[in-house]
């Protein structure tokens, strides 16, 4: 993208929780582009930043990280981006390092490592207002002088203070190209670094960058060797010898880097920082309540309940407006196309229906990300993970899996999008895999129809509730072992240690929260939206064609005296029966026969792969009740109760036996019947591989369990 544009690129890096995103939003004024780095699920955010004198640069917001020794995909992206190893990105012309002014020492470690990259640097000491409140005095000029004249700017991005100075400093850094002085390594360590550099150069024929050499020497695992094409056997001997040299200098090779950098920084900061005592005081007091053994979980449950209620119930209102709007649009458009029934059906059911299908998810996404934004930016998300971690760690997930899984009970889409808050790639993937198992609100109409038509009338309302609750647990029951097996045996990625900073509490900035809501919604519409639209059109076509007018004429001729609605419903049913979908349903019915599904249910099951709630209206059509049937339709319930097998060994017995309805509900609880979920899973896992695995796994599991339930219950009953 940026490679095609002339002009200069500046990267924004920093530790997490430094207010980096707030600064980025302030510098770019929300003129941003969001994309993904190729091959990894790391968001690439960039925007145009004015350097105060009219010159513009492209500012790239890189993921937050503590150290350059990469252990997660996010961190790897930062290193690759800064060293110019990303396929589509040029190496930046300068780096802005955002630093938490209340914890200069730790934040400068990253800056000190970055000094090895040989790039012009600007240091932004953000949250300077908080530091001042804590009584910390920072001599920015002295720090700048000790760092060879690198611009050092004090800011408060939250309050919008110092932003203009940052713009000027970026311009200055690009003009003067002042580098931060590199670390002075002890002589033996310097020698060891030179040995590694010579070893690389001898084997691959070109001199490696200084930062790459350091990663090779100091990190126990690094992908740098692979990237350079330095093969392992030769690498090992050179690095072993170099590390022995570091040992002779008196350092453990794997600890040398932080020890030497921190020693340098301690000297660097003498006289720069004064005062500041109880730096964790205010947050510690809040934590005494929010992380209290008793009150902590109570407050947590309250917040999560509020969030769930908002996503589940509050979102229903805008969702009804959207579906109302879609219906209205259909009713307006349909008459204008009355002369062309095929085009009418394509436009109303296919296209308008297709747009409506993904727009309906927006309210839930926006509301969930309102909460996620507030929880993240306030610092509570880390606490929530702290409280919940124990419940998730044993099956390979972590405390941050809770919010995605909980929102999965309302809808899998926002749940999947919120897995981005999980840093550990393994836990993130396992959580994304588990989310579609949660009993979302689209499964509710299926359970409601079956319970209202059969369980309630036959066994009483008590059993109705038991089955309802039970069905909501089925998914969870399978999701947990799935996550366990996935993280334990399938994913061979090294697990990340769950080292999580509990940052200082902060008031979230409304602009940042709203911006995050908007970005997530926009990305969903532009990526998953197109796929969802396409799926809707395809399924429309499959259930519309072929459309032989003889079918309709025959039915109308056969029942001249009947009421028009009855005949219309019969016509529709007949059309669906001879459509590609209907023919396919009849053809594959033998596969679903062991679950006790007749061809009408089979067509319903197949038609509801893009969206599972479609089963109710499809059953309405195939059972000749008419389109638009809902779960509480007494007519549909009666027709289903009366339905009998008309052929085969079960002839004359009810189709919807207890075994069959339980099997149907279990099938819907487990099956991957949601096009948007599959599309979002592909978006969030960076390819179709895991989306396909999830689809086939869930569908196969659903079929197996439906067979088990049908065969088991029909033998018992």
């Amino acid at each position: 993208m940026s490679a095609a544009e002339p002009g200069r690129t500046v990267a924004l890096v920093g530790n997490p929780n430094t207010g980096k995103s707030t600064l980025f939003n302030a510098l770019t004024g929300l003129r941003q582009r969001v994309g993904n780095y190729p091959g990894v699920t790391v968001a690439r955010k960039s925007g145009q930043c004015d350097c105060g004198d009219g010159t513009k640069v492209e500012l790239v917001d890189l993921p937050g990280l503590y150290s350059l020794s990469a252990s997660s995909p996010d961190e790897q992206v930062v290193i690759d981006a800064l060293s110019g190893h990303l396929a589509d990105d040029r190496r930046p012309d300068a780096v802005v390092v955002v630093i938490d002014a209340t914890n200069l020492l730790r934040n400068l470690f990253l800056a000190s490592q970055l000094s090895e990259l040989d790039l012009p640097v600007v240091l932004v000491l953000n949250q300077a207002d908080v530091a001042a409140e804590q009584g910390v005095k920072i001599d920015a000029d002295l720090l700048s002088r000790r760092l060879g004249g690198v611009p050092v700017v004090l800011t408060s991005a939250w309050k919008g203070e110092g932003i203009a100075a940052v713009r000027r400093a970026i311009g200055e850094a690009l003009r003067t190209r002042v580098r931060m002085p590199a670390v002075e390594w002890p002589p033996l360590v310097e020698e060891a670094l030179a040995d590694v550099a010579a070893g690389v150069a001898a084997d691959i024929g070109r001199a490696p960058g200084r930062a790459d050499v350091e990663r090779l020497l100091f990190d126990s695992t690094t992908s740098v060797g692979q990237r350079l094409g330095w093969d392992a056997p030769r690498r090992e001997a050179v690095i072993r010898a170099a590390r022995d040299k570091v040992r002779r200098a008196g350092y453990n090779p794997l600890a040398a880097e932080p020890l030497i950098h921190y020693e340098r920084l301690r000297r660097l900061l003498e006289g720069v920082v004064q005062g500041g005592g109880n730096r964790t005081g205010g947050s510690a007091a809040v934590d005494r309540v929010l992380l209290h053994r008793v009150f902590g979980p109570i407050v947590f449950a309250g917040i999560m309940l509020g969030m769930f209620a908002a996503v589940f119930w509050l979102a229903k209102f805008p969702m009804e407006w959207i579906s109302g709007g879609v219906d209205w649009l259909k009713s307006v458009v349909a008459p204008t196309l009355a002369g062309l029934p095929m085009v009418q059906s394509l436009v109303t059911d296919g296209m308008i229906g297709g747009v409506g299908a993904f727009l309906a998810f927006l309210p839930q996404i926006l509301i969930l990300f309102l909460f996620v934004g507030i929880l993240e930016d306030s610092g509570y998300m880390a606490r929530a993970a702290f409280i919940m971690d124990r419940l998730f760690s044993w099956c390979g997930l972590n405390g941050k899996s809770f919010v995605p899984l909980l929102s999965g009970f309302a809808c899998a889409i926002p749940g999947l999008l919120s897995t981005r808050t999980i840093e550990d790639p393994k836990a993130r993937l396992a959580t994304a895999f588990a989310v579609p198992f949660m009993s979302c609100s689209a499964r509710f109409p299926v359970y409601a129809l079956m319970c209202a038509a059969f369980i309630g009338p036959l066994y009483g309302p008590g059993w109705e509730s038991v089955v309802m609750v039970g069905m909501h647990c089925v998914g969870l029951l399978f999701a947990v072992p799935t996550a366990f097996v996935l993280t334990r045996f399938v994913l061979k990625v090294k697990p990340q240690p769950f080292v999580l900073e509990l940052p200082r509490y902060q008031m979230p900035k409304p602009r940042d929260v709203l911006w995050r809501m908007w970005q997530n919604a926009a990305e969903f519409v532009s990526r998953a939206g197109t796929v969802i639209f396409a799926i809707t059109i395809i399924v429309w076509a499959l259930s519309y064609f072929p459309r032989d007018p003889a079918v309709e004429q025959r039915i109308r001729a056969a029942s001249p005296g009947a009421a028009t609605e009855v005949v219309d419903a019969q016509v529709q049913s007949a059309y669906v029966e001879q459509s590609w979908m209907g023919r396919f349903g009849k053809a594959v019915q033998p596969i679903f026969d062991p679950c006790g599904f007749d061809w009408k249910i089979t067509v319903g099951v197949l038609a509801s792969f893009p969206a599972r709630e479609v089963i109710v209206s499809t059953l309405g059509v195939t059972y000749s009740v008419g389109e638009g049937a809902e779960a509480d339709s007494k007519h549909l319930q009666q027709v289903m109760r009366d339905a009998k097998w008309t052929e085969g060994p079960r002839i004359g017995t009810p189709i919807f036996s207890l075994a069959a309805i339980l099997a149907l509900m279990v099938f819907f609880a487990l099956c991957s019947q949601c096009g948007p979920t599959v599309a979002t899973l592909a978006q969030e896992t960076g390819g179709w591989k895991w989306a396909a695995i999830s689809f086939f796994y869930m569908t196969a599991l659903a079929w197996l369990m439906a067979v088990a339930v049908y065969q088991g219950v029909s033998r018992l009953a």
Partner: protein, 87 residues
């Protein structure tokens, strides 16, 4: 020396040793936890795991299993001391 996982909430002491081979310890070192530094076990999570530790003006959470091999010299003046087992 006491493993960090066996500290009582409120107890503090000097970091005696960590193992740079382990990725947890590498992370902690990047955060500025170096041998000789004072750290305090602030609290345990309501379910007993993970732990919240404080060092260099920041609070960091880590799991019990990750804290087992981090050894602490509990400060003699620390008001909270594990009761000695009866002789």
């Amino acid at each position: 020396m006491t493993p960090l996982s066996q500290l009582l909430p409120g107890q503090y002491g000097k970091l005696a040793s960590l193992n740079p081979e382990r990725s947890v310890d590498q992370r902690l070192m990047a955060l500025g936890l170096l041998p000789g530094m004072v750290l305090k076990l602030v609290r345990k999570a309501p379910l007993g795991d993970p732990l919240a530790i404080e060092f260099a003006g920041q609070v960091v959470s880590l799991r019990l299993t990750e804290a087992q091999n981090i050894l602490i010299d509990v400060a003699a003046d620390c008001p909270i001391q594990r009761p000695r087992p009866p002789a």
